[in-house]
Symmetry: C2
Subunit: 204 residues, 2 copies
């Protein structure tokens, strides 16, 4: 991959990088439905240039979010290293959901490309998370009937908040996550747990 990029001419390489950056910005701001022409314009290149580097919109999306995906991966592995598996579990869900709420395109890219991701990566992520789940259960803090598939459930549910303006999305996501974690936890202490600020959620 690096080889392919460095075989490009200097100016081309820079254009490519700029396109990628702009794409990430715009996808985050406005979601995946932003037109290719808009990306090209903001990157200061023509449409053809864009298509020369990324033969299809899907390929651009994939590449633009590759970094985010690897962040997810990192989050999970870091959590696995945590001495307290429940805290690790909690952190994974909180961080990934925050990422989702912050970046409007990420959600769409995630559900759109999950099947396409190199199964190697997906497999690895999956196993890490399953391991984390097992440990958290063994630690007695995570309910026994929690399924690793519930992570998908959480992600999907959280993605439903993507339409909101960013600040609201973040607040809403935090509250949702707090509720869900409350449900996943096996309740030792019964004091009303952390529930972030409520926001007027009257739609638009």
């Amino acid at each position: 991959m690096t080889t392919a990029k460095s075989q490009l001419r200097a100016d081309a390489r820079e254009n490519r990088a700029r396109v990628l950056t702009v794409a990430q910005e715009l996808f985050a701001e406005r979601g995946l439905e932003v037109p290719m022409a808009a990306i090209a314009r903001r990157a200061g290149v023509g449409v053809a240039t864009l298509y020369r580097r990324f033969p299809t919109k899907e390929s651009l999306v994939l590449e633009a979010f590759a970094e985010q995906f690897s962040v997810c991966q990192a989050v999970i592995e870091e959590a696995l290293a945590d001495a307290d598996p429940w805290r690790g579990f909690r952190t994974v869900i909180e961080k990934v959901c925050l990422l989702q709420a912050t970046d409007r395109g990420f959600t769409a890219a995630f559900v759109a490309t999950f099947p396409e991701m190199h199964s190697e990566v997906r497999e690895r992520t999956w196993q890490c998370f399953s391991e984390l789940v097992e440990r958290a259960k063994a630690g007695g803090r995570l309910r026994a009937d929690f399924s690793p598939h519930d992570l998908t459930l959480v992600l999907l549910a959280n993605s439903g908040l993507a339409g909101l303006p960013v600040e609201m999305a973040v607040a809403a996501s935090q509250r949702l996550v707090a509720y869900l974690l409350e449900a996943f936890r096996v309740g030792t202490d019964e004091l009303p747990p952390p529930v972030p600020l409520s926001l007027d959620l009257v739609l638009s």
Copy 2:
């Protein structure tokens, strides 16, 4: 409204009804992005006919889902009549979420038209639900920091499941709702509560 419809010629009235039915079916199956032409074709009419009765796509959507909205309203009022406010509360969330999971277009229509709905209706629905929430809290089964706005949160989260094939969406929605209700409940009994069957949620 009835007057307007009956002033139509007999054939026109039937065409109108068929269009509406078809629209409901297609919106449920494929979501709101189904083209007007497809609706017209399946209803066996031309596009012009469709537009004569429903001057804009939005108006068609609105009318197509008016029924569903009134169902929601009915669900809430029925719940309010329930002697056990917590059971009423639970039922509202379960039923509305099921409706959402079953009908792919409903979610989109809901968030798209919530602001436009006669504020009278919305106001009324809202007050009913708030009342229900108060009672459930007073009954000691619903956590005190639950906000009526959390209903919106639930609906939005549940809408994130809309992309799944219908059966999966239903199963996933049921599990999500079970989790959320678990979080909303103030926990008297701590036995692992009803969590419906898990489903392989590997995306597509």
